[in-house]
């Protein structure tokens, strides 16, 4: 057969494309459930990390999460919980309403909040998202029940420089937020900052800032803006829930 004729070439290309398309569709569908579980476990791990529960084995994540996270309501623009995230059914811990909200869908009328209880303390976990140097950064900030003191944080990134910006995922940086206050004198403005060593900003006291990552000024600024902006957006909710 003449493998160089036009008809042959076109038919050959079409057949190959159809075969490959079917194959890829099959693999993607077959593996989707496993991948979704991984993504969900990863998200739970991140939330737990913001509660200073790190280094859990994959198999323990689910139970620990169910144990610590009591409610996960979703708030609308008037700071009313539209979905309570309350218990549904007898055995169900919660209906995981906030958990279902993907990071990109967080808007003023769709704000997830995680209400957790650890060592008898009520802790609120707020998802944060922003921009680093090369790509998106996101994470979770856990606040104590006064909605002012940071209990823990977790940050992750899409494509920050390894060894520099990517160090925001390291524990020392995340735990350096612990115990910091998000407000200064003015309780309506979040001033919790990430500052370069030696730099000071008016009104930002020693309780209100953490040291930036050396050599990663832009990523650190990104974390700074992300935390301030996203917590600021939750202030009306804090007003209602704080004790």
């Amino acid at each position: 057969m003449n493998t160089n004729s036009n008809t042959y070439t076109i038919v050959y290309a079409s057949v190959i494309v159809v075969i490959v398309a079917f194959l890829l569709a099959f693999v993607a569908t077959a593996l989707k459930p496993t991948q979704d579980i991984n993504v969900a476990v990863d998200k739970k791990q991140q939330i737990l990390a913001s509660l200073n529960v790190r280094g859990l084995a994959k198999s323990d994540v689910e139970t620990k999460y169910a144990e610590l996270i009591k409610l996960d309501p979703v708030y609308n623009e008037n700071a009313e919980p539209v979905q309570t995230g309350d218990k549904v059914g007898e055995k169900e811990q919660k209906d995981q309403e906030a958990f279902k909200v993907a990071n990109k869908d967080i808007k003023a009328n769709n704000r997830p909040l995680y209400v957790c209880e650890k060592d008898g303390e009520t802790i609120y976990v707020v998802p944060v998202k922003g921009a680093g140097l090369w790509g998106g950064i996101s994470g979770y900030v856990a606040l104590k029940s006064d909605c002012e003191t940071v209990y823990g944080t977790y940050f992750t990134h899409e494509s920050e420089t390894a060894g520099l910006g990517a160090r925001i995922t390291e524990e020392w940086f995340q735990t350096s937020f612990n115990g910091k206050k998000i407000f200064g004198e003015d309780k309506t403005k979040v001033i919790l900052s990430v500052l370069k060593k030696g730099k000071t900003v008016d009104g930002v006291g020693p309780d209100n800032f953490v040291d930036a990552v050396t050599g990663a000024t832009l990523t650190s600024n990104g974390v700074n803006d992300m935390v301030q902006q996203c917590l600021q957006d939750y202030i009306d909710i804090f007003e209602q829930i704080k004790k």
Binding site: N4, Y12, L24, V39, D42, G163, G215
Partner: protein, 212 residues
């Protein structure tokens, strides 16, 4: 069976590991070699992924080599490689999620890894499936060896760990009253290039006589 493991086939498999190494001799696949070697684990996974993909794309192309229209052969090769890469990437996402997060875009970039296209054009298009398989595995492993060497040095000096385990004792570090600091340069791709240069240098000086 004798023919399967003949001397020629052994040669096909062994050459890319040393004398014809894709990275140090043919200088192919440098981009990913620099990008994923800051730690050992992604380096190993990347090496294995490339090995698997080179081997199987070689076999597939070799099997259909006589039917491929010459005018669109590169496109067909690309389609086969792209399909395999997508499958591997999906499997990684399903079974080793944290590694796939770490490798992120580089798995996708295997498609553009010159080793793959190079082997398909140079070997699989004119050899049988078994030889092509050996050639693919050999080239993949040759690439993996270099990645592992570079990854080993970078992780040891850059983080003080191997496969995530602390090798350099904590008490050595300046924070704990010692006199040692991790070399931050090692975590950057620039240092990988220099290390790679050293690997090539050592490799060439060892093989100087055999080349001539």
């Amino acid at each position: 069976m004798g023919k399967l493991f003949s001397k020629e086939n052994g040669e096909v498999f062994m050459r890319p590991l040393n004398l014809d190494n894709p990275v140090t001799v043919q200088i192919l696949g440098i981009c990913s070699a620099l990008a994923v070697t800051s730690q050992l684990k992604p380096a190993v996974v990347m090496g294995l992924s490339v090995t698997v993909i080179t081997a199987f794309s070689n076999v597939i192309i070799s099997l259909i080599r006589k039917t491929i229209p010459m005018r669109i052969r590169i496109i067909i090769q690309l389609v086969v490689v792209a399909a395999l890469v997508t499958i591997v990437s999906n499997i990684l996402k399903a079974y080793v999620y944290d590694v796939s997060v770490q490798l992120s875009v580089y798995v996708g970039l295997i498609i553009t890894n010159c080793i793959l296209m190079g082997r398909l054009e140079a070997f699989a298009m004119s050899n049988g499936p078994w030889e092509s398989f050996l050639d693919g595995v050999g080239n993949g492993l040759g690439y993996a060896i270099v990645l592992v060497i570079v990854g080993f040095v970078r992780e040891l000096l850059g983080f003080g760990t191997i496969f995530g385990f602390q090798i350099i004792p904590q008490s050595f570090y300046t924070e704990n009253g010692g006199y040692y600091m991790n070399n931050g340069m090692m975590t950057m791709p620039a240092m990988a290039l220099i290390l790679l240069g050293c690997v090539i240098w050592v490799h060439r000086s060892i093989n100087k006589e055999e080349k001539k």
